[in-house]
Amino acid sequence: MPAGSNTQRPLEVTPAQVQAWLEAVADPEIPVLSIADLGILRDVLCRDGELVVVITPTYSGCPAMHAIEQAIGAELRRHGVEHFHVHTRLAPAWSSDWITAAGRRKLLDYGIAPPAQSASGRREPPDGEPRVACPRCGSAQTTRISEFGSTACKAFYRCGDCLEPFDYFKCI
């Protein structure tokens, strides 16, 4: 829980302003995406004169969460906000559906296939394999090499046409 100094002073910034600043904070593992693109940044509010930033982790053991909290703290301090609290909210659980349209486009440009299907629209556990298009050439002839890629949120695929391996951002 990073907190600034204890000096109680009235909030001079609006939550909307803070939200705009934090939308620029990059995800430490996929730096082309911001925490807003990923849907990790859930809310900015003012409670009893204190600024509260609400974030939701993508995975229970996501090692980036600590770095994200620190990055949020650094960004706020850069704008002169010293008194704040970063709150981690677990429920509702993060869903890959929360990745914004801009976020999905940035993932694709970066060479990562965005989540293929809607997690919330599916009742069954993901026992079936989603169809994933190659982010380089768009081919649908792809095979999954491993359920887990470079991080927990990604699986590892290979394209049968351009033969390049690529990461797929899993649908959860």
């Binding site: 995975y59 053991g61 996501c62 677990l90 429920a91 491993s146 899993k170």
Partner: protein
């Protein structure tokens, strides 16, 4: 046993299962048979240890004695751990690890799904998050069971042996005691009979797909949930707890 004590015990069981299996999986780092499997093991371990953190942090709050998740993970002795015996079993060869993982995942996923509807909002929140991860774990381990079981004659024979050896540890997953009875009354504990039904159905289907024979039902090991462990757990804790115990104030 009052409700608070039962809840503390229940949370330790959930947390310790995830923590000990996660710790076991980290033993593969640097040794896994393929790079993809090394990443898979490490990522599943990360999910499980993250889940353990959620359960144990809440256990500390419920206990109200000022212990946090690190205190509970690193400062408890063997007899105070409440994980099932299955998860502390050694990694063995990769087939043993896969069989252990699958038998646990097939239990973990329906358990977490049931707990997502728990009347306790903290439990429901952690479980809803964790069940999404457990769905992937089960899919991966079931695929490996089929690949190895329906693979070469040698991989088939080895995996059948793995299941035969681990089977006596599966009864404990569904055994009810006072903790469950106390919490069932208030709708907190999951209905393990329903969890068992789904487990049995999934395991039967997967073993059939893997051309493996379901082991004979027989005498089942138990005791882990009450703190009576095999000698295996001591070795796991010795490695996991050494640093924070030797250097009490060590910080990253």
């Amino acid at each position: 046993m009052n409700r608070q004590q039962a809840l503390f015990e229940y949370l330790l069981r959930l947390g310790d299962n995830a923590l000990i299996l996660g710790q076991r999986l980290t033993e593969w780092i640097g040794h896994a048979p393929a790079l993809e499997e090394e990443m898979g093991s490490a990522n599943i371990a990360l999910d499980l240890i993250g889940q353990a953190r959620g359960w144990l942090a809440y256990a500390g709050t419920v206990e109200g004695a000022g212990r946090d998740e690190d205190d509970l993970a690193f400062q408890r002795d063997v007899m105070n751990f409440r994980n099932v015996l299955l998860v502390e079993q050694p990694n063995g060869h990769y087939g043993d690890t896969i069989a252990r993982q699958y038998l646990f995942d097939a239990f973990h996923y329906p358990l977490l799904t049931a707990l997502s509807a728990c009347t306790d909002q903290s439990i429901a929140g952690i479980a809803a998050k964790a069940s999404k991860e457990a769905a992937y774990h089960r899919r991966r381990s079931a695929e490996w069971v089929i690949r190895l079981g329906d693979g070469t004659a040698e991989s088939h024979a080895k995996l059948q042996q793995s299941f035969d050896t681990l089977w006596p540890y599966t009864g404990e997953l569904f055994a009810l005691d006072e903790v469950d009875h106390t919490l069932r009354r208030t709708g907190v504990a999951a209905d393990l009979t329903a969890v068992r039904r789904e487990w049995h159905e999934h395991v039967t289907r997967t073993l059939a797909g893997a051309t493996l024979v379901p082991p004979q039902e027989g005498w089942m090991q138990s005791g882990g949930k009450q703190g009576r462990h095999s000698e295996q757990l001591g070795y796991v804790l010795a490695e996991m707890q050494f640093l924070p115990r030797a250097y009490r104030d060590a910080r990253w």
